[in-house]
Symmetry: C2
DNA sequence: TATTGTTATACTCTATAACTATA
DNA sequence: TATAGTTATAGAGTATAACAATA
């Protein structure tokens, strides 16, 4: 169990895991705080962000978020009740339903995005512009090849 | 509303925000999956990880996680019921309660940490060793000065 | 009086299973 | 028969408020 015992992975890989995980928790805390300040849960803010520039079927939205379609029904129910989203039957498929933002929803997600950027600025300013670009590049490569 | 309209922040800062947020959601998804594979919620796994090498009072644990103490009571109740944690009255302060892991809890968190590292390895392998070190350094600086 | 923790309550998030309607 | 979505149900996570015990 000692840190110097043999491992499957190189030691510095473990430290990178820790850095990634701790950074992610810090980012999630910031997002959760911004969401709460706008009377949203983190999941609701995420739904609004995904729908900011497109309309999606319930199943596509659920897949995007990694949630069950029944979970999606509840999320959209509550957002619709608050006037942030709407549903319409799909014209292509009588079974399907498209979800999209109302103007109130679009306004809220725009404010949310701006608040998130403001909230993360103090963190990002710990790095120089060059380092910020380098970090962005490394993260994009970690996520997968950027939109080919 | 156009992407090229004037902003408070430099354009590339917005892209770094997106990269940080998207990376964080990807990491959280991996952590949530690992937790679920071990019959834990993400929060439970996090509690176990925090207590892996220390014992903390309920309030300290709640502060660590950014949760209310009443939320902490429920989380510890359920973990205790599963034999992963224990509570004992503090010797220093008759009002306080110390929380700590059982041996089953320590075993589970060790497996969880290993699973997380394995789960993130494919992502990290998209970068060279040098890049991994650079990324780790940048993230640690983003989080704040590393333990002085 | 202030602090530590628990309990009561309510709401959101989440999944599973059963169901309806359409393909 | 298979797919899209909703509803019913249950449990976890979360916060607020009220409470007991201790400092």
């Amino acid at each position: 169990m000692s840190p110097s015992s043999d491992r499957r992975c190189a030691p510095q890989a473990e430290d990178l895991v820790d850095a990634l995980v701790q950074t992610s928790f810090a980012i999630m805390a910031a997002l959760t705080r911004v969401a709460a300040e706008n009377d949203l849960s983190l999941t609701q803010l995420r739904v609004l962000a995904i729908l900011a520039d497109r309309r999606l079927r319930m199943t596509a939205l659920a897949d995007f978020l990694g949630l069950e379609k029944s979970t999606m029904s509840g999320l959209v129910d509550r957002a619709e009740k608050r006037g942030l989203m709407q549903r319409t039957p799909s014209v292509d498929d009588g079974r399907a339903v498209d979800a999209f933002l109302t103007s109130a929803g679009r306004e809220l997600v725009a404010k949310g995005r701006a608040d998130v950027a403001l909230s993360l600025t103090p963190l990002m300013e710990r790095l120089t512009s060059t380092e910020q670009r380098r970090l962005q590049d490394l993260l994009e490569r970690l996520l997968g090849e950027p939109a080919l």
